[in-house]
Amino acid sequence: MTPKVVTEVGTELPALSVRLKRDDLVRYAGASLDFNPIHWNEKTAKDVGLPDVIAHGMLTMAVASRIVAEWIGDPGAIVEYGCRFGRPVVVPNDDEGALVDVTAKVTKDFEDGTVKVNINASFAGKSVLTGAFARVRVS
């Protein structure tokens, strides 16, 4: 199905900000079955040298995918999605949690009905996912 949005190279996607708090990490742990305690237990996190509990890399990756899914309309159009995990998102035990800012831009037309979208996710002003991209079917 042809999307209703502009998918030309250079198009910037509507930005997204997602606040992650401790309860979000617990909810993701349950949904994903990843119960590694560094994602919910301060003591374990600090014992392994982290500043505090950190979000699952896969949660940050999943949250960042929303910018593409919400833009294109059909999440099934995302035929490829990848990233490296650069920095952890540290989530303190308070009402603020951590704010992840997501931006994205169409950077390449593969000329086979798909385009490349580069995604940037940052926390506290620093990028947390490296080389994040999605290949999206547009026609």
């Binding site: 896969m58 990756m61 999943a62 899914a69 099934g76 035929v79």
Partner: protein, 149 residues
């Protein structure tokens, strides 16, 4: 002790089938704050050309988790789980994972490399239906931090 590169090319037996349910997809979509109706409403998903509700792009990690654990805890590989960090991840979707799918995972070790005292293990998991239709190729790079790193 560095990992033995001779394990490159090792493949694991197919997993037990994973039954993809509408409820698990909804639960996962809720947990990532995703709003798309295609994750929740079968009629909305059908209007987009899908057979039933589809899963978010990273849902394959749930399907392949047990298989990846088989690799991680492979006694012959002698991988120190306490030193493992998820380095990168990618998914290639031959089609979206869809409610009603019965999915089988087959894991392969594609590469074992060492750099600056760390070992890097690349695991490719081929996810397909019990009927043999390819659905998703998931690649995970695990970094095993060296003793001194």
């Amino acid at each position: 002790m560095p990992l033995d590169p001779a394990f490159t090319g090792r493949s694991y037996p197919p997993s037990q089938p994973y039954d993809v349910s509408r409820e698990k997809i909804r639960e996962f979509a809720d947990a990532i704050g995703a709003t798309s109706p295609a994750y929740r409403d079968a009629e909305a998903a059908k209007a987009l050309g899908h057979r039933d509700v589809i899963a978010p792009p990273t849902f394959a990690i749930v399907v392949s988790m047990k298989t990846n654990e088989t690799v991680m805890f492979d006694p012959e590989l002698e991988l120190d789980y306490s030193r493992v960090v998820h380095g990168d991840q990618s998914f290639t979707h031959h089609r979206p994972i869809t409610a009603g799918d019965q999915l089988v995972c087959v894991a392969h070790i594609d590469a074992i490399t060492s750099r600056m005292g760390n070992d890097m293990v690349t695991v490719r998991t081929e996810i397909g239906t019990v009927e043999g239709e390819p659905v998703t190729t998931a690649r995970s790079m695990l970094v095993v931090r060296g003793e001194d790193a």
